[in-house]
Symmetry: C2
């Protein structure tokens, strides 16, 4: 990629960090480094050529990095920035890939050095597996990517992140406020994950013999990373509770129509869902 | 297929009826006929060779059919059998593909001629589209198929249906009571469809820009056939309400854990869901 002559450090070589490394390598940055607490993971990433060099200690790579991408658990993001504050290169850009934004950005900006620029990011990409062994540069292809810049961020830095994100294959790069991001995510991501987990609850020994695609699809993401999702839901709890309660209302309406044998109302509800789904999926494909 | 030298009539050339016709043709029955109120659909099916001959009037094919497969809307099944009672060939087997079983089988058996044998069936196969143009013989490949025989059914007739169903590619043929069928379906099919419809309710103009796979998968079946699903849910309302309420309980528990910022409880809930989902999908694949 033109104008991508940067030193980049990825912090955390899990599924997203690993995928990011693979995808960035193709853009030929000056140097691509990684920090991880797991030596084995670093060795694998080095051997496979996803990164130029890996470190368990952040100091050296951070001191020389123009761009740092945080791919650790949400609860660790703030901690990492705080503990390594002195090591960041003057004027460095920091971004992250976490699933919630408002608290993180507020917290980080409360102690961030003036010369540093923290730009929140969230790739709407992932898999229902965790760890480097499931990483793939392709997870970004066609994905949505959200950036949550604030007034504190420099325009040229936002533009750089946007360019990089498009460079690794993302389709829609949306710039929205951290608040709006968290509100939307509660609905489009937290809610379906909660539904999937709740649907699994009733599974018995022989349930697999009685299912079709509807159940399998609705529960795909029930293969959750519990620690990550507990973090996310607690962090974004106000929005999530609001969305759960809206959902509970809808279900209550459907239930009432079933109890009242109200065929017309049910048909209308489902017809409405069908039309919305058709329009939605058409938009997704464009 | 050996020993499949029968005259068969399919009633209703929609998605399932059409797919059934295509799949049965490969088993080389003596004659494969179809009944549909839509002349155009019959012409297409004849032209494409899915059936040997189609009729808008059921009398002629029924008089000569050893096996009749009802692929019409649930609400029409009973009506069709009742209105055409005099036309069925002596000793004919009748089966259906409807999504609920208890009421149907009770009703049909209350007026069925003694020489006829009605064996309830339900292929766990489908698509989120309706009509003959989306039919495909492949929808049965690897699918689960439920049969709900009762004491009234002849063993050799049950065996014949089972053989046919395996012949068109179904993997697990489960024989369960109509009551058990409806109870299980309320959970594995009605519930995920209701969830999908309820999830779509909050979709806005720009939601597609903020989604990842979790939302798309969870709402795939929201492209519902409203008439069919209103029929199914009202018919199976007691079981469905019970399953909705169990689900509401699970969601309430998750909500409480989020409100209480109970990280451990959330992690346990999700860990449980993950393990269940992993075991479940392994079983599905075997």
């Amino acid at each position: 990629m033109d104008g991508f002559d940067l030193n980049i450090t990825i912090v955390g070589l899990g599924l997203i960090g690993g995928s990011y490394a693979m995808a960035l390598k193709e853009l030929k940055p000056k140097n691509l480094w990684a920090v991880d607490i797991d030596k084995e993971v670093i060795e694998i990433a080095q051997k496979k050529g996803f990164i130029d060099q890996g470190y368990t200690d952040a100091e050296i790579p951070l001191k020389n990095s123009d761009l740092v991408i945080l791919c650790v658990y949400p609860a660790l993001m703030t901690k990492f920035v705080k503990e390594n504050m002195d090591f960041f290169k003057k004027g460095a850009i920091i971004t992250d890939v976490g699933g919630t934004k408002e608290t993180l950005i507020k917290e980080v900006n409360s102690f961030l050095r003036d010369d540093l620029d923290f730009i929140g990011g969230h790739p709407m990409a992932g898999r229902e597996y965790k760890g480097l062994s499931f990483a793939s540069k392709d997870i970004f292809i066609g994905a949505n990517y959200m950036l949550t810049p604030t007034e504190d961020n420099k325009k040229e830095n936002i533009a750089l992140i946007e360019k990089m994100v498009k460079g690794i294959g993302c389709k829609n790069v949306m710039k929205i406020s951290p608040q709006k991001h968290d509100e939307v995510m509660a609905y489009t991501s937290q809610l379906p994950h909660i539904m999937a987990a709740a649907l699994m609850k009733g599974v018995k020994e022989d349930t697999h013999l009685f299912v079709a695609g509807s159940f399998r699809d609705a529960t795909r993401v029930a293969r959750l990373n519990g620690k990550l999702w507990a973090d996310l839901l607690i962090d974004n709890r106000e929005n999530t509770i609001e969305k759960i309660e809206e959902f509970e209302e809808y279900v209550k309406n459907i239930k009432a129509s079933i109890i009242n044998k109200d065929h017309e109302s049910l048909e209308n509800i489902f017809e409405d869902a069908r039309i919305k789904r058709e329009e939605f999926i058409k938009k997704c494909q464009h």
